[in-house]
């Protein structure tokens, strides 16, 4: 059915969790701690698209494009060749420039998207965007109209409100361009049972889907786990799955109940540590 066309990430197990892939023209959040695999997942999403002939963009606010060429090469993904073939652009810019450029018709980014006929975009990471929006006087929202339309914010809530408005307009600009967006976001805590969860400007409510990556400690070994917490307009797998990163990128395994290692261990304790990792206080 055409309304249910999916944008596959190319990570088989993850696509299964998403009910076949992301819905087209949506914004999708991947959140997790340092080194857990956010950028790898994002690059895989872009690479898979390019292989299907769908041009993609990686927008970075901190790591240089060279870093992505190198990271990708470790998985055998030739990003420089994709750039030469017009299937990829790794753009480094700042959040303030992005925000204002996207608000104006015929900006550089809009022009690039149209020229490439890009369908996928990876924002790595939205954390930088959020902190810049929280501090920058430059990047005020285009007009106050949208703010007024949604009513006057309560006293003290106005800053968060403006931040959220900026984020909302940024993500909407990408939607307007017909993009399927993947946003990575950093969490500072390594395991799920630590304090420090920060909702920022409410990004979890704005995005269409929300996936969490976590480190999980099972029997003295640190593993990686993935869960889809929200997906608008679609059923999704609610199981917690283990994943690994190998020479092919992310490899998502069966829900962890079925794992071999669990059979030989103490499943109850392991289930408890997975739950602990994902349930916030």
């Amino acid at each position: 059915m055409s309304y249910d066309t999916r944008i596959q990430t190319g990570i088989t197990g993850f696509d299964t969790m998403l009910g076949g892939g992301y819905l087209p023209n949506t914004t999708n959040l991947i959140e997790g701690p340092p080194g857990c695999g956010k950028s790898t997942l994002g690059m895989q999403f872009i690479y898979h698209g390019a292989q299907q002939g769908e041009p993609g963009i990686i927008l970075t606010f901190e790591a240089l494009p060279e870093t992505y060429y190198q990271m990708a090469a470790a998985f055998g993904w030739d990003f420089r060749r994709l750039e030469q073939e017009g299937l990829l652009k790794v753009i480094i810019t700042s959040p303030e420039v992005t925000q204002i450029d996207l608000e104006h018709a015929n900006g550089v980014l809009e022009h690039t998207i149209a020229q490439m006929d890009a369908k996928r975009i990876l924002i790595d990471s939205v954390t930088h965007y959020e902190s810049a929006m929280a501090h920058s006087p430059n990047a005020a929202p285009k007009s106050k109209v949208s703010l007024m339309a949604r009513g006057t914010p309560a006293p003290g809530a106005s800053e968060k409100f403006v931040e959220r408005d900026r984020l909302y307009s940024f993500l909407n600009a990408l939607k307007r361009q017909g993009m399927t967006t993947l946003l990575t976001r950093e969490t500072t805590f390594l395991f799920g049972d630590e304090e420090g969860f920060s909702g920022g400007a409410g990004i979890h409510f704005i995005v269409d889907s929300y996936t969490m990556l976590r480190y999980v400690e099972i029997m003295s070994a640190v593993r990686r786990a993935i869960i889809v917490l929200k997906m608008r307009g679609s059923a999704h797998d609610s199981a917690i799955r283990q994943f690994e990163i190998d020479a092919r990128g992310l490899v998502v395994m069966a829900p962890f109940e079925g794992q071999e290692g669990l059979m030989s261990g103490t499943p109850k304790r392991m289930a408890a540590s997975f739950i602990k990792a994902f349930v916030r206080k």
């Binding site: 494009p65 060279e66 753009i91 420039v97 204002i100 550089v108």
Partner: protein
């Protein structure tokens, strides 16, 4: 013969095309770094402030060098709200020269000569 050996000083023995490129575009280390930066990161779209941060250089110095490279046709300047952002200008001929220059900078001997040329200015 002896005189000649003594006079075999840089930059006279640089490749004429490269010497020409150096003389026209690379009269400071900042410009050298910027050319390499845009060559390695061709889809950069940012302000002097942003680019200065990536390079770990002074914002004013970077702004001056960016304006120079814009004036010399290597970069395009884009007005973004109340900011100025820079992108690589699509110009195959110039990009080809930059490519030759960056390739040459992989050679230690060339770097030595080019640096000499720069500090002699």
């Amino acid at each position: 013969m002896k005189m000649h050996t003594l006079n075999t000083r840089v930059p006279q023995d640089l490749d004429p095309d490269l010497l020409d490129f150096l003389t026209t575009y690379v009269d400071s280390f900042i410009k050298w770094e910027l050319l390499l930066f845009f060559h390695q990161n061709p889809n950069t779209f940012d302000t002097a402030e942003g680019i200065a941060r990536y390079l770990g250089r002074d914002k004013e110095d970077v702004q001056d060098a960016l304006s120079f490279l814009k004036a010399h046709g290597l970069l395009d300047e884009v007005v973004v709200g109340n900011m100025l952002a820079y992108v690589l200008k699509p110009n195959a001929e110039l990009q080809d020269k930059v490519q030759k220059f960056t390739e040459a900078t992989n050679d230690r001997e060339f770097r030595r000569k080019a640096v000499y040329h720069l500090i002699r200015k």
